[in-house]
C-alpha cells in the first residue's frame, strides 16, 4: 500500500522516469529487503554493497524529490491530502533511516581500503548523519517533519561532501555524470561484487578491492579510463605515504617502490596505471614511462593509416595492359614465385579432412561427390537439355505419325529419363532405330503402318 501511494504521489509530481525508479526501489527496499539488509549489515556481503551502490547512484534524485515533496506539502496543506502526506512522511522517514544505514555501510567498505584523509572526513560526516538518523528514528512518531528536514539537510551536506571528494580525485565536472549513470551502473555493481569476492586475496601493491572500487567510481564518469588511472595514481600515492609513515621513515620510499610489484597489472582493466614503474626484467633496458600523453593515447582519436598524403605518382586507371599480362601464359618466374609462396606458408594439414583437401588439390584423391554429377566427367560440358529434349532427333528419318512414330516417342521419353547414358549413346540409340526402320520400311509399308 505504501508503495502504491508513494508511486502515485511521485508520478503525479515528477514524471521523470529515473526518480520514479529510485522511489520504487526505496519503497521496495523498505517493504521486503529491510530485514535482509539488517541481517546483512553484520556480515557485509554483496547484497548490501550492491544496494548501497545503487543508493549511491540514486541519492541525488531521492534527496531532491523529498525536498520538493516537502515544500509542496507545506504549501498545499490541504486537509484531504494530509493523511496521505503523513503516511508518505513516515514512509520517507523509514527510507531515510534505511539510506543512512546504507550510507554507513558504504564508507565502511571504502574505509577498510583507503587510509586517505579525505575519506575520513567523509566518514565523520556520515557518522553525524547516522547519529541524526538514529535521532530521527526515535522521535519519528511525534515530530516527523522537523527531523526529516534536519535529516535532509544532513543528507545534503553529506552529498556535497561526497561531491567534493569526487572532485578532489577526478577533474571532470560532476554536472555531466547523471547522463552516463544508467549505462555505468551495471558495471559499478559488478565491480563491488567482484571486490567483495576478492577481498581475501591481498596483493602487494593495491588491493584489488580498492582498484575495483576506484574503477567503479571512475566508471560513473564519462571519461572512464582516464579517471580510473588518475584515481589509482592518487590511491597509490596515499598508500606509499601511509606506508612510509607507518614505518616511520619517509625517506624510505625507494624500498616501498621496490616492493611494489613491477610491471604487473593485477586486474585486467583497459587502463594502465600511469605511474607504475615498469622495469624490464628481461634486460632490454628501461622503457619510457608512459606519462599522461600515453594515457591520452587510449582516448585520442585513432589515426587512420590511410588518411595522409600520397606519393601522387600513379593515376588509378584500369589499363588493358595489366589484364593482358595476367592472361598470358605463366612464365618460369611466375611458377617459381608461386612455389616460393607455398613454401613460405604452413601447409601442414591439421586434421584428416584437411589432408583430404590437400590430396584432392594435388589430384591424388577422387574428388568428393559435391553433386550428383560426379564421375560424369565426359558429360561435364553437355547441358542438361541435350539429355532431356531428344524429340529433335526424330525430325528426320522417321514417319510423322503412326505406330512407328508413337513407338519412337516412347523410346525418346525413356531415354530422356535415363541418367546412365551419355548424349552420344542416346543419339546412337535413336539412330540405330532409324536404320532399323529404314531396313524394315518395305515390310512396314506392306502392313500399312509406316505412314509418311
Amino acid at each position: 500500500m505504501y508503495r502504491f501511494i508513494f508511486r502515485t504521489v511521485c508520478t503525479a509530481r515528477h514524471s521523470s522516469a529515473s526518480v520514479f525508479e529510485s522511489c520504487v526501489f526505496t519503497a521496495k527496499c523498505d517493504k521486503s529487503a529491510a530485514l535482509v539488509l539488517r541481517v546483512a549489515n553484520g556480515s557485509g556481503v554483496k547484497a548490501l554493497s550492491t544496494s548501497s551502490v545503487r543508493f549511491c547512484e540514486k541519492k541525488d534524485d531521492g534527496a531532491n524529490s523529498h525536498q520538493v515533496e516537502k515544500t509542496n506539502t507545506d504549501k498545499d496543506a490541504e486537509p484531504t491530502e494530509t493523511p496521505t502526506v503523513v503516511t508518505q512522511k513516515a514512509e520517507d522517514d523509514c527510507n531515510i533511516t534505511k539510506m543512512a544505514e546504507h550510507k554507513e555501510e558504504e564508507p565502511a567498505v571504502l574505509k577498510t581500503d583507503e587510509g586517505g584523509t579525505t575519506q575520513r572526513q567523509v566518514d565523520v560526516e556520515i557518522e553525524q548523519v547516522v547519529a541524526k538518523s538514529k535521532q530521527v528514528k526515535t522521535g519519528a512518531a511525534k515530530s516527523g517533519k522537523e527531523s526529516l528536514l534536519d535529516l535532509l539537510g544532513a543528507m545534503k551536506v553529506e552529498v556535497t561532501s561526497k561531491r567534493k571528494l569526487k572532485n578532489l580525485i577526478v577533474k571532470p565536472s560532476y554536472e555531466s555524470t547523471p547522463k552516463s549513470k544508467p549505462a555505468a551502473m551495471e558495471s559499478t555493481i559488478s565491480m563491488f561484487q567482484k571486490a567483495t569476492a576478492e577481498a581475501s586475496s591481498q596483493r602487494e601493491t593495491l588491493d584489488p578491492e580498492l582498484v575495483a572500487a576506484a574503477s567503479a567510481a571512475a566508471s560513473t564518469l564519462p571519461d572512464r579510463s582516464q579517471a580510473e588511472s588518475e584515481l589509482l595514481r592518487q590511491l597509490r600515492q596515499h598508500e606509499t605515504i601511509t606506508e612510509a609513515q607507518k614505518t616511520g621513515d619517509v625517506n624510505n620510499l625507494g624500498v616501498i617502490i621496490a616492493d611494489m610489484k613491477v610491471g604487473k597489472n593485477p586486474n585486467r582493466q583497459n587502463a594502465r596505471p600511469a605511474n607504475q614503474i615498469r622495469f624490464d626484467d628481461d634486460g632490454r633496458g628501461y622503457t619510457h614511462d608512459r606519462g599522461i600523453t600515453a594515457e591520452l593515447d587510449g582516448v585520442r582519436r585513432r589515426r587512420n593509416l590511410f588518411t595522409g598524403k600520397r606519393l601522387n605518382v600513379f593515376s588509378p586507371t584500369t589499363d588493358e595492359d595489366g589484364v593482358e599480362s595476367t592472361v598470358a601464359r605463366p612464365t618460369l618466374w611466375d611458377v617459381d614465385f608461386a612455389n616460393q609462396l607455398s613454401l613460405s606458408t604452413n601447409q601442414k594439414p591439421r586434421n584428416g579432412l584437411e589432408e583430404m583437401i590437400q590430396w584432392t588439390k594435388e589430384g591424388k584423391l577422387w574428388q568428393y561427390p559435391v553433386n550428383n554429377e560426379v564421375g560424369l566427367e565426359e558429360e561435364a560440358g553437355v547441358p542438361f537439355h541435350e539429355h532431356i529434349f531428344l524429340e529433335k532427333h526424330l525430325e528426320e528419318g522417321f514417319p510423322r505419325q503412326g505406330p512407328v512414330r508413337h513407338f519412337m516417342e516412347l523410346v525418346v521419353a525413356g531415354l530422356s529419363r535415363n541418367p546412365f547414358l551419355t548424349v552420344q549413346q542416346k543419339r546412337e540409340h535413336v539412330s540405330w532405330f532409324r536404320d532399323y526402320f529404314h531396313q524394315k520400311e518395305e515390310v512396314l509399308k506392306e502392313a500399312d503402318v509406316y505412314l509418311n
Partner: protein, 685 residues
C-alpha cells in the same frame, strides 16, 4: 532448411520439365501449404520449408520470362572444407601429421624438426625413386586414371637437334643442356623462335646459369657463396626450401645469348634484370636498365619491382636511395606500367633501409596503394612496422603504428601474396613484447586465430618464435592463472618452449606465489627434454627450497626433488647434469622438510662422492630433523661427517648433539673428542 545456395539447382529440376506443369504444382503446393500451416503451424515441419521454397520459385517463374538458371558450380573441396571447419584443435594432441605413428610423437622441438624433416625427405625419396625408375611403375591401378600417381618423365627423350628438344630441356629445367642445344642450333643456322628464346633466358637467369639442384642430383658447389650470405643465414634454421644462393657471374651464358640476339625486347631485358637482382649483381642490373632506356625499350612491372629492391644497394645515402626509388616510380608511370602489390612491397622493403626518410615515405606509399586500389598484404604492414620500429627511438610511435595497423586488420583473414607475409606476425609480437603491451598481444593472437591466418605464421621455426614471444609476454605481464591457461593451450601442441621460456614461467609462478605448481611444471620440463639444462633445474630447486610451505606441498616437493635427483643420475647418452653444491643442498633440505631423513642422509653421502662441501646451515637443519626423530646414531654420524668435511661448525654440532641427544658412552667419547679438536681451530680461526 534448404539453404539458399541450393536454390538454383532446385529450380533447375523444377523448371526443366516445362512451365505448363508449374501452375498446377503451384496451386497444389499453395493449397497443401495453406492447409498445413493452418493445421500444424505450431509445429516445425521437416519439409514444409522446402515446399514453401518450391512455391516461391514457381511463382517467380510464372510471372517472369523463362530463364534457364545458371549452373551452380561447386568447388571440389567445398564439402571437405565445410567438414574441416567443424573440427576444432585439440590442445592435448600432437600435430595431425604425426598421429600415424605414436612412436614418432615428438616431445621436444628437436624431435619435432627431425620427424617432420624425415617425413618430408621420405616422401621426396619415394618420388625420386618412382620418377627415376619409371619402368617399375607402369601398372595403373586407379580407375579412373590418376595422373599424379604415375611417374613423371625426368630424363630427356629427344636426342636429335631441334627446337623441340630445346623446349623439352627448358621444361625439364636442364640449364646447361638447354644452353648447349641452343648453341648447336645457332651454329647449324637454325632459327630459334622468339618465344623459346625468352623461355631460355628466363631459365638461365632464374637459375643463374647453373643446373638447379635436383633431388639426388649432383650437389652444386657452394664455394661461391658469399661470406655475407653465410653470415646472414647463420643462426637461422636451414629450411628445406633454402636453395644455395649463387652470385651472378661475369659474362655468363645469359649475357652472351642476350648479346647475340638480333632484337632485344622488354622481356629479354626484364629476365636479365630480374636475374641480376636475384643473384646479387645490383649495379649490373641498373646499368642494364640504363642500356634498356637508351635502346628505347620500356620495362615491365617485374623489372621495376626487382630494381626497387636493388635500389638501397647501389646508393649509400638515405636520401639518394629514396630519390632513386622515386625516380623509378616516376619512370614507371611515364612508361604506363601499372604497379602491383609486389611493387609497393618492394618500395616498402627498400624503405626499411632508408633510415629517417622511411617513416613519412612509408605512410605515403601506403596511401598510394589505397589510391591505386591495391590492398596491402601482411608483408606491407611488416615493412611499415619495421620502418617505424627502427626509427622510433622514443618507443612511442612504435606501438602507435602497431595499434593503427591492428585496428586496420582486425577481423580480416589473409592469403599469402608475398613470401614476406609470413614475417608479419612474429615481428608484430616482438613489438608487443618490447612495449610490454598485453592487450595488443591478444589482438595479434586473435588475428592469428582468424580464419586461415594461422597458415601465415610460416614454418615451424617462425611459429615457435611467434609463440615464444607471446608466451614470454604473458609470463611477464599476465596473472598466473591466465598464463597457465595459455600454457595448456599452446604447449606442447603448438609450441615447444625453450629453457628461457620455462624460466619465465617459473618467475611468473614465483611472482604470483603459486610455487605449489612447481612439481607439475617439472614434469613438463622433463617431457620437453629440458631436464639437462643445469641453470633451469637449479632455478627450480632454488624456488622449491627457498620458503617453507604447508606439509602437503613439502611432500610433493620432496617427491619432485627425488625425481630431479634421478635426472642428475640418468644417463641417456646426452649431456647430463653436473651436481652443484646448491642443487645438492636444495634437494637435501627439501627432503628434510618432508621428514624424509633416510633419503636426505643418502644425499649427504653424495656430497662426499661428488667432492662438494655442504653448508653449515644444512647440517644444522639435519641435526634438528634428527632431534625430532630422536635418532641419536644418525646425529653422531652427522657430526662425524661434518668433521670429515673439516667444517668449522663441527664442534658446535658436537656440542649440540651432546646436549640434546641421549647418546651412549662410546658416542659421547667420540663427540667430546670432536668437540675438543674443533675448538682450537675455531679459536685460532
Amino acid at each position: 532448411m534448404v539453404s539458399s545456395s541450393q536454390k538454383p539447382s532446385l529450380c533447375t529440376n523444377m523448371a526443366a520439365p516445362g512451365r505448363h506443369v508449374g501452375h498446377y504444382i503451384q496451386r497444389n503446393t499453395q493449397f497443401l501449404r495453406n492447409n498445413f500451416e493452418q493445421l500444424w503451424s505450431h509445429r516445425s515441419f521437416g519439409w514444409s520449408p522446402a515446399l514453401r521454397q518450391q512455391a516461391a520459385d514457381v511463382n517467380k517463374e510464372s510471372t517472369d520470362a523463362f530463364v534457364i538458371p545458371r549452373k551452380k558450380t561447386w568447388s571440389k573441396e567445398a564439402v571437405l572444407e565445410a567438414l574441416a571447419s567443424t573440427v576444432g584443435r585439440d590442445p592435448t594432441a600432437h600435430p595431425y601429421y604425426f598421429q600415424d605413428d605414436p612412436y614418432l610423437s615428438p616431445r621436444t622441438s628437436s624431435e619435432f624438426r627431425l620427424y617432420s624433416l624425415s617425413q618430408e625427405s621420405g616422401r621426396s625419396a619415394a618420388k625420386y625413386f618412382v620418377d627415376s625408375n619409371p619402368k617399375f611403375f607402369t601398372k595403373d591401378f586407379a580407375e579412373p586414371h590418376i595422373p599424379c600417381l604415375m611417374p613423371e618423365t625426368v630424363s630427356l627423350l629427344l636426342e636429335e637437334m631441334s627446337e623441340e628438344a630445346l623446349k623439352e630441356r627448358i621444361s625439364l629445367r636442364k640449364v646447361t643442356a638447354a644452353v648447349d642445344m641452343y648453341d648447336q642450333l645457332l651454329q647449324a643456322g637454325t632459327a630459334v623462335s622468339v618465344e623459346t628464346t625468352h623461355e631460355l633466358l628466363d631459365l638461365i637467369c632464374l637459375y643463374c646459369d647453373r643446373d638447379p639442384v635436383q633431388e639426388g642430383g649432383a650437389q652444386a658447389e657452394d664455394t661461391e657463396e658469399s661470406a655475407e650470405e653465410a653470415r646472414r643465414r647463420k643462426g637461422r634454421f636451414r629450411r628445406p626450401s633454402d636453395r644455395l644462393r649463387f652470385t651472378w657471374r661475369e659474362n655468363s651464358n645469359a649475357e652472351r645469348i642476350f648479346n647475340l640476339l638480333p632484337e632485344r625486347d622488354t622481356r629479354c631485358y626484364s629476365a636479365l634484370i630480374r636475374g641480376m637482382v636475384k643473384h646479387g649483381a645490383y649495379a649490373k642490373a641498373f646499368s642494364m636498365y640504363t642500356d634498356m632506356l637508351n635502346n628505347r625499350v620500356t620495362a615491365d612491372v617485374h623489372a621495376f619491382n626487382a630494381l626497387m629492391l636493388a635500389a638501397p644497394d647501389v646508393r649509400d645515402k638515405y636520401n639518394e636511395r629514396w630519390d632513386l626509388i622515386a625516380e623509378l616510380l616516376n619512370q614507371m608511370s611515364q612508361q604506363k606500367v601499372q604497379p602491383n602489390l609486389l611493387t609497393f612491397n618492394s618500395v616498402l622493403k627498400a624503405l626499411r633501409r632508408c633510415g629517417y626518410l622511411g617513416k613519412t615515405q612509408a605512410l605515403q606509399t601506403l596511401n598510394e596503394m589505397k589510391a591505386m586500389g591495391i590492398a596491402p598484404s601482411l608483408a606491407s604492414f611488416d615493412h611499415v612496422l619495421a620502418v617505424f620500429s627502427k626509427s622510433a627511438s622514443s618507443g612511442q610511435g612504435n606501438t602507435n603504428i602497431l595499434h593503427d595497423v591492428m585496428s586496420e586488420l582486425a577481423g580480416s583473414s589473409f592469403t599469402c601474396q608475398d613470401p614476406d607475409d609470413v614475417l608479419f606476425f612474429s615481428s608484430a609480437m616482438r613489438i608487443c613484447l618490447d612495449q610490454k603491451d598485453v592487450e595488443l598481444g591478444y589482438k595479434v593472437q586473435s588475428l592469428v586465430e582468424q580464419g586461415e591466418n594461422w597458415r601465415l605464421l610460416g614454418d615451424s621455426y617462425q611459429q615457435s618464435i611467434y609463440y615464444g614471444r607471446f608466451f614470454n609476454l604473458l609470463c611477464m605481464l599476465e596473472h598466473i592463472d591466465v598464463v597457465l591457461k595459455w600454457y595448456r593451450r599452446l604447449i606442447p601442441s603448438l609450441y615447444y618452449p625453450n629453457p628461457q621460456g620455462l624460466r619465465d614461467l617459473l618467475q611468473a609462478l614465483d611472482t604470483d606465489g603459486r610455487l605449489d605448481l612447481l612439481p607439475t611444471i617439472w614434469k613438463d620440463i622433463r617431457s620437453l627434454g629440458h631436464d639437462n639444462k643445469s641453470d633451469l633445474v637449479e632455478e627450480l630447486l632454488t624456488l622449491m627450497a627457498r620458503d617453507r610451505h604447508s606439509p602437503e606441498v613439502q611432500e610433493a616437493f620432496a617427491v619432485c626433488a627425488l625425481d630431479v635427483k634421478t635426472a642428475f643420475s640418468a644417463d641417456r647418452g646426452r649431456l647430463s647434469l653436473e651436481w652443484s653444491n646448491a642443487s645438492l643442498s636444495h634437494i637435501t633440505s627439501l627432503l628434510l622438510r618432508a621428514n624424509n631423513t633416510q633419503q636426505a642422509w643418502e644425499m649427504l653421502q653424495l656430497f662426499k662422492s661428488k667432492n662438494r662441501v655442504p653448508e653449515e646451515g644444512l647440517l644444522e637443519d639435519f641435526l634438528s630433523a634428527c632431534r625430532s626423530d630422536g635418532s641419536a646414531d644418525r646425529a653422531v654420524e652427522l657430526v662425524q661427517l661434518s668433521a670429515a668435511f673439516c667444517l668449522s661448525a663441527t664442534p658446535r654440532l658436537a656440542n649440540q648433539t651432546l646436549a640434546q641427544f641421549d647418546v651412549t658412552a662410546e658416542q659421547r667419547a667420540v663427540l667430546s673428542e670432536l668437540e675438543a679438536t674443533g675448538e682450537p681451530s675455531v679459536n685460532s680461526g
